[in-house]
């Protein structure tokens, strides 16, 4: 066999061996070296491994192309806008467009003001901005947040999922028309578990509640003292430890020493916590935080009080003596361990500017045991489809010499595609399986075209005849492949869930088929024909 004349077959063999190496190599290496690897090196998506996917837009509105002047004071405007809308300052964000954009003569295009609340209407937002000196009309306001905000959310949520001790989770954004969604996928986790982890903004605050005597009456005042960014050296959530005097689940933390610790210590001393306030927070104050009497320190997570603490004797002394500001570590206590875990995750990953709007998205959960069933059964469904194809091909051609290489080539195509999936780390889902089956379908169609073209009456002995027939067959195959790719390409960019995977697999499969496997089948057929013609010549003599 002449290698140069049969380079297409050689190429197919090389690709097949490479695929086998990619798919089974890690397992063989693990067996030899004592490592750990699955028998086939493939990733599975949620539908084939079980887990939860949540896709939701972010709460918020954005005013685009806002005009900022040199003297626009961001923190001041932020507070003013928030106050007018009855929100926290953290729910408003002003951002100037990048300098790069300005140098490109799009001076005003990048400036935005965002508001992160479900309870504000577009009209209210526009009016508030106008009242605060921004010339913004309602048409400049759109639903959704800026790319920068989305990026922050994705980064923080990724950290949260990893901190939450779940492996293999992933967070990304997906666009659907003008709307953007955050997509969170976590294998082997239930819906509630994932929602607990990512719901809310993850904002943690320490709020001081203390009595103030004014004009002879006592009123209570609440002052936020610390939030996520003030904490550092966050330890792991721990169970109650009565031996060291901590009777609650807790998280060991430190306060940053760049001024936060001093401010915290000073405020608590000013408010009276370190004198008359020691130990004065009533038990169960966290059940009714708005009416508690005494001096309480509230740990607030996602806007909810999760624990109310009293000032301890020792801590008060260290604050009064000034030692606290030098080594500002303490423990944050919670009522149960799961809250402590959530607290640790929130402190480490930080808070997100806005939360996910679960009521405007999609949720998908699948039990791992059911996914396992889908994995096996979809393999069976694929195999029976392949057997059906085999049946028809044998019926049509009768001769195994035509049919067997045809079916082997079709199988090789799927094998190469699996190798490709493994290389790019594609997480296989049912939609991909459907794509594989579609590829077998178009693949066999093309092989039939090649076979019928090359096996016409008349011999192919001369290279010329073969080349011309091969070219003719390829015109049709190329045209059909181009149409399929064209038909599938919109799906790769439109965000239609499962369909993206299906489209990618089909397109790559068609490309692999047209460029590698299907031409090789032409060469295989020619070799078979040539050997047959030679044998005939021999018997004639």
């Amino acid at each position: 066999m002449n290698l140069r004349e049969n380079w297409r077959i050689v190429l197919l063999v090389i690709f097949t061996i490479a695929s086998a190496g990619i798919l089974f190599g890690p397992f063989v290496a693990a067996q030899a070296g004592g490592g750990d690897a699955g028998p086939v090196s493939l990733d599975y998506g949620l539908q084939l491994s079980g887990g939860t996917q949540i896709r939701a837009p972010l709460v918020g509105m954005t005013a685009d192309d806002v005009e900022f002047t040199q003297d626009t004071n961001f923190p001041e405007k932020r507070r003013a806008i928030a106050e007018d809308l009855g929100l926290e300052p953290s729910e408003v964000r002003l951002s100037a467009g990048g300098r790069q954009a300005q140098s490109q003569a799009q001076a005003q295009s990048g400036n935005t003001i965002e508001v992160f609340s479900k309870n504000v209407t577009r009209a209210e937002f526009a009016t508030t901005l106008q009242n605060n000196g921004f010339d913004v009309s309602q048409d400049q306001i759109r639903n959704g947040v800026t790319a920068q905000t989305r990026e922050t959310v994705v980064n923080v949520l990724s950290d949260k999922i990893n901190e939450g001790g779940i492996s293999g989770g992933n967070v990304k954004t997906a666009a659907a028309g003008n709307e953007y969604f955050v997509v969170v996928e976590v294998p082997n986790a239930g819906e509630q578990e994932v929602k607990d982890l990512i719901s809310g903004t993850g904002r943690v605050q320490i709020v001081a509640r203390y009595p103030v005597r004014e004009n002879g009456t006592t009123t209570y005042r609440e002052t936020p003292l610390l939030n996520n960014s003030d904490f550092t050296d966050i330890g792991a959530a721990q169970q109650a430890d009565p031996q060291s005097g901590i009777n609650q689940p807790h998280v060991p933390v430190s306060i940053r020493q760049d001024g936060s610790a001093e401010r915290y210590s000073q405020s608590l001393q000013d408010f009276g916590f370190t004198r008359e306030g020691i130990g004065s927070c009533p038990p169960n104050a966290d059940r009714n935080p708005d009416n508690a009497s005494g001096y309480c320190l509230y740990t607030v997570q996602n806007g909810r009080v999760v624990y109310a603490a009293s000032m301890g004797q020792q801590l008060a002394q260290s604050m009064n003596g000034g030692d606290f500001a030098n080594s500002p570590s303490f423990v944050m206590t919670t009522t149960n361990i799961s809250e402590a875990q959530q607290l640790a995750v929130n402190l480490r990953a930080g808070s997100i500017p806005t939360e996910l709007n679960f009521t405007a998205g999609t949720t998908y959960t699948l039990l791992p045991s059911v996914a396992e069933r889908f994995k096996l059964f979809s393999l069976i469904a694929g195999l029976v489809a392949y057997l059906a194809v085999s049946g028809v091909v044998f019926l049509r051609y009768g001769s195994p010499r035509v049919a067997v290489p045809m079916l082997a080539t079709a199988a090789a195509e799927v094998f190469l595609l699996l190798g490709f999936a493994s290389v790019i780390g594609l997480a296989l889902d049912l939609s991909h399986i459907a794509g594989f089956i579609a590829v077998i379908g178009t693949g066999v169609d093309d092989l039939i075209i090649i076979a019928d073209e090359i096996l016409q009456e008349g011999k192919v002995a001369t290279g010329k005849v073969f080349q011309s027939r091969f070219k003719k067959a390829f015109w049709v195959i190329g045209a059909a492949a181009a149409t399929t790719i064209l038909a599938m390409s919109p799906l790769t960019v439109l965000s239609l869930g499962d369909l993206t995977g299906f489209a990618i697999v089909t397109i790559v499969g068609v490309l692999l088929g047209v460029l590698v496997t299907r031409p090789a089948y032409g060469d295989i057929l020619r070799n078979l024909m040539l050997s047959e013609e030679e044998r005939e010549r021999y018997t004639e003599q």
Binding site: I380, R396, D445, I449
Partner: protein
């Protein structure tokens, strides 16, 4: 001359269809009538329900839950009556019975089901606003795919009648399964949309093959048509066989998504057989014998 070798002398198992017995008008009438009926069904559906096809929960918003329970279907229906659900039993080999519960509601569905003590095997929820977006995106996707395909075909053949023949066939290949879905009570889901797009690819290759044989090769019309048919019908029958078996297997094994894709492809490919070898062929014959000389 020696006898033809066993390989080149392929067995002919296809019946000889004598196209000369039918006029172009007769040939084209059947597929055009079927297309008209299909369009009428879609139009009627649109008038009655507001959409040409029944939309599944991925497009309308709602919840689909697969539950494991020993309760009977009517017991489930009764216990979940607040959700106004559709309940479909699923065949599972291992003994536990499973049901797919579908409802248009999204709020509190999980709680309602869990409070009845049913084990949730899979849970999929789509909000109504997300669904509306998906409808729009799907239409855009189908539109781009179809227009792109049409442009490519015109570019490849560069003459009007043969190109438009392919485009009409492909259009009909999509419309007929859509109408059949309404008749059979299948709802449009992401899976069936994938199948419809796949049909564009599948249906065009047998049409391209036929056009190519008749227009771009030497040889008499019927001879070329017959050759193209031998190859094309084999292709389509292979795909139909694969998809029929696949969807039956996937249905019996209770795998989601695959049965819908398979069923729509079977309907579309069957329509394609008719459209290619009656509609497209008659248009080509008219073009070859009468159109060209004009």
């Amino acid at each position: 001359m020696v006898r033809m070798s066993a390989m080149t002398d392929l067995p002919d198992r296809f019946p000889d269809i004598d196209y000369t017995r039918y006029t172009n008008r007769q040939l084209a009438a059947v597929p055009l009538a079927v297309l008209a009926v299909a369009l009428a069904i879609l139009a009627a559906w649109y008038v009655m329900t507001g959409t040409p096809v029944a939309l599944g929960i991925e497009f309308t918003g709602g919840t689909e839950v697969q539950i494991q329970t020993s309760a009977s279907q009517s017991e489930i229906q009764q216990s979940l009556s607040g959700l106004d659900p559709t309940i479909q039993p699923v065949q599972v080999s291992q003994g536990t019975q499973e049901y797919v519960v579908t409802t248009q509601q999204t709020d509190g569905v999980r709680q309602a089901i869990e409070s009845q003590g049913y084990e949730i095997a899979s849970f999929s929820e789509t909000s109504a606003s997300f669904g509306t977006d998906s409808v729009r995106l799907t239409l855009i996707g189908l539109g781009i795919a179809f227009v792109g395909m049409s442009l490519l075909i015109f570019l490849l053949f560069r003459s009007f009648v043969p190109s438009i023949a392919i485009v009409i066939s492909a259009f009909s290949d999509i419309v007929i399964p859509l109408a059949l879905m309404n008749v059979l009570g299948l709802k449009l889901s992401l899976g069936t949309v994938a199948a419809l797009l796949m049909l564009i690819g599948y249906s065009v290759d047998s049409d391209v093959l036929l056009n190519n044989h008749i227009l771009r090769r030497r040889g008499e019309f019927y001879e070329s048509a017959y050759r193209a048919m031998r190859t094309g019908v084999t292709m389509t029958l292979t795909s139909i066989a694969a998809m029929t078996v696949m969807s039956a297997a996937a249905f019996l094994l209770a795998i989601p998504l695959l049965p819908q894709i398979g069923l729509v492809l079977v309907m579309g490919l069957s329509a394609d057989l008719m459209n290619t070898y009656m509609l497209n062929l008659s248009l080509l014959r008219w073009y070859k014998y009468e159109g060209v000389s004009r």
